[in-house]
Amino acid sequence: MSLSTAGRFVGQSVKRREDPRLLTGHGRYVDDIVIPGMLHCTFVRSDAARGRIVRVDVDAARALDGVIAVLTADDLNPHAGTMQPTMLLTTPGAPLRPLAATDVRFVGEPIVLVVAESRYLAEDAAELVEIEIESEPAVIDVERALDADVPIVHPELGTNLGAEMAFPIAPELEALLQGENVVKRTFRQQRHTPVPMETRGVVVEYEPAAGELHAWMSTQNPHEAKHAMARVTGVPAHLVRVEGHDVGGGFGQKFFTPREELVVALAARRLGRTLKWIEDRRENLIASNHARADVAHCTFAHDADGRLTGSYIDHIEDAGSFPIGATGGAGALVGLLFTGPYKCPVASLRTRAVWTNTCGRGAYRGPWMFETVAREQMVDAAARAIGIDPLEWRRRNVVPTAELPYTLPTGLPLDMVSPSETLEQAVEIIGYDAFRVEQRRAFAEEGRLLGVGLGLYVEPSTGMMDPMGTETAVVRVNPTGQVTVALGTGSHGQGIETTMAQVVAEELGIDYDDVTIVQGDSSVTAYGRGTGGSGTAVIAGNSCRNACAIVRTKAIEIAAHLMEAAPDDLEIVDAQIAVRGTPTRSVAWAEVARIAHLETARLPDGMEVGLEATATFKAPAFSWSNACHACTVEVDRATGVVTILRYVVSEDCGVMINPMIVEGQVAGGVVQGIGGTLYEHFIYDDDGNPLTTTFMDYLLPTTTEVPTIEYGHVETPAPTPGGHKGMGEGGAIGSPPAIFNAVADALALVGATIDHTPLSPDVIFAALG
């Protein structure tokens, strides 16, 4: 392992600044916000997946003491601007509306908004609302949704095909796919959902006299929320303020601004009152975004030596009814990244996003991660089919570091990654060869089913689309020398107040305790991309670096003027600006800051007063990180229960700002992957009724299902300043196929096969026959 020399702060596992307030119960989450006169909201939702609204009777609800308003589509929809949650990603198709007016398109679709003096009263009133829906057959099975005899989810669109991208199949690929050593498989990943422990929520205050709208919201992206609320309510964007404060997890679900938050903002604007809506867990499960509902038909062609010669993927993603973000956006990347870190001369793809009468699809930690799931599961299936070990298949096909940069067959340029190094490090840590020996012994002598699985991937960080790849930092030095940094991020567990302070302290040569980060507030920070897409270290980190460079240059110029020294001879060490090699000739950082603000006659002629800078950073279109996951499992033949024995992640996110936080992010992602592979399944019946609406039915991993995770680090610095790479999502990308492959490996001992998740005991039991 070769890690770069850590700095004073960058590269250190600095303890988090956020922790003391969160550990003592003094965090400020959205439900902790109390505004005088605040009213409470609850939604009445559809209990039918598809059908016509025949009658909505709100009279009894309106008559209840303490009820302020009971709003229907007639009350709100005519006053709404566009409901599109973001202008960053175009969302073709889905005809978004605040409240369902004449028909419903999934169970959980909001129909009525109740506003009352307390949440208890709002729930009482909601029970008095009478809604009659004439149910119609619903579109639930995504693989049947494009058939001619299936109803149309959005009649306005006339088709259930939401988006499609297809590359032509070159004749040479056609020939390969019909030739020898071809392996075909179909894999299905079940619908699940991000499940942040804090549900969604918003408080919206509208002050009619001032015309200002002020919202507190559980969001990853306060600036986009501000703009979405401005569009919906008609309040000009500069009069809208969105604050995040502490956010109890998001994992993508809170990146774009969902429907309910926009409806509450619109209602606050119409009523001129302050409204609070806190989602309950049932609502979060049935009506926040779903994810991961994918199917892919995959084909690999090989030469006689087991080298990949051609690849094809035909992918379908379930977009649900009203997706949040891009429709088909996940699928495009599933297709483009399918061959991942392996050499493949020629490939083609088709991806389709399909409407169904279910909760809309949205971002979830690695939204396109099915490319890794499908590919890595395909690799193991192919290896078994052509008679080589899955590790050997990977060794033969992985792009060697010496052959980088490598252009994927879909045209994407891959560089500055280390898939072969992380593969070798992961198999060494887990003891792959020794495990194979033990696996054979345990099966031969005891009949036990042990298995080992790998998941190797490369992950692109978002830089391709404006403004996902851009962030602005304002670095402001106070007259005391202490520094306040404003970032447009929306931290929700990543520890941004800690890591960005590490970067700024390092860059300015001052103490970490003298830097504070202000973020999560659209009015005191410059427009920013929010927090998501594994972007903070690279994009926010380098916007901080760029602003610090300007501040540092100015501080050194001031010090040079004061000391009558040449700026080039000065450096900042431990908050002293000193002549390099002569530390006794120095001026304190704090003294320079004081003079810059309060004794301005001592500044160089013509220099602007003050010491602060605003700077942006735009990430390159592609910057890649990579990792290899390896795990071992035992499958209980009597019960079908899978137990994870060991779990190893070898990752390369370039230079780490805070290794403790990197490993924490990896661990969190891995365990979400464990949940998604073994336990979590959002189930609809054939009529579109949700069956998993509590934590007793929708199963999350707990302490007793999760192994201790072991880490290896490889460091290939990114070509951007600081050398960092994205790493927030990767844990959730590599883990599902690693676990699936380990289970498939164990089952292969007795000739059993699997092709879909979750790998619950009944699925394993069925596979074992």
Binding site: L22, D31, M197, E663, V671, T702, T704
Partner: protein, 155 residues
């Protein structure tokens, strides 16, 4: 409406509540102790765990009137004066046992209860004792380490 009187974090609190008001809502809204969090409101996630007469309970499954005459300790009552962290809280910080922090108050209460009962739990005992608290961020890695650290340091 019914009168309730209880000791909360060492201080006497009198209130008048609807019989249906949950203990969690009473603590969060009437007592302004917002450190107790509601993650599911059906007793599974454990974020709302508080001490009731020395026992860790789910405040979302209790009515405030059920705590009448009792002694309640919330997350705000576990640390020292001036924001000092308790040994369990400090161990969570040292071992990165929290990320978003939403489930954290429930975990800290559950761990404090565990260590009061068993000052040297094995890893298996730790995992079983905490299997009724859900965390979505940490993968439980730092949490399990934090319990072991807090146990070691209290010896």
């Amino acid at each position: 409406m019914l009168p309730v009187e209880m000791t909360v974090n060492g201080g006497r609190r009198r209130g008048v509540v609807e019989p249906r008001r949950t203990l969690a809502d009473y603590l969060r809204e009437d007592c302004a102790l917002t450190g107790t969090h509601l993650g599911c409101e059906h007793g599974v996630c454990g974020a709302c765990t508080v001490f009731l007469d020395g026992e860790a309970v789910r405040s979302c499954l209790l009515f405030a009137v059920q705590a009448d005459g009792s002694e309640v300790t919330t997350i705000e009552g576990l640390g020292g004066a001036d924001g000092a962290l308790s040994p369990v809280q400090d161990a969570f910080r040292e071992e990165h046992g929290l990320q978003c922090g939403f489930c954290t108050p429930g975990f800290v209460v559950s761990v404090t209860a565990l260590l009061a009962e068993n000052s040297a739990p094995s890893e298996t005992e730790v995992r079983e004792a905490l299997s009724g608290n859900l965390c979505r961020c940490t993968g439980y890695q730092g949490i399990v380490r934090a319990v072991q650290r807090a146990a070691e340091e209290s010896r």
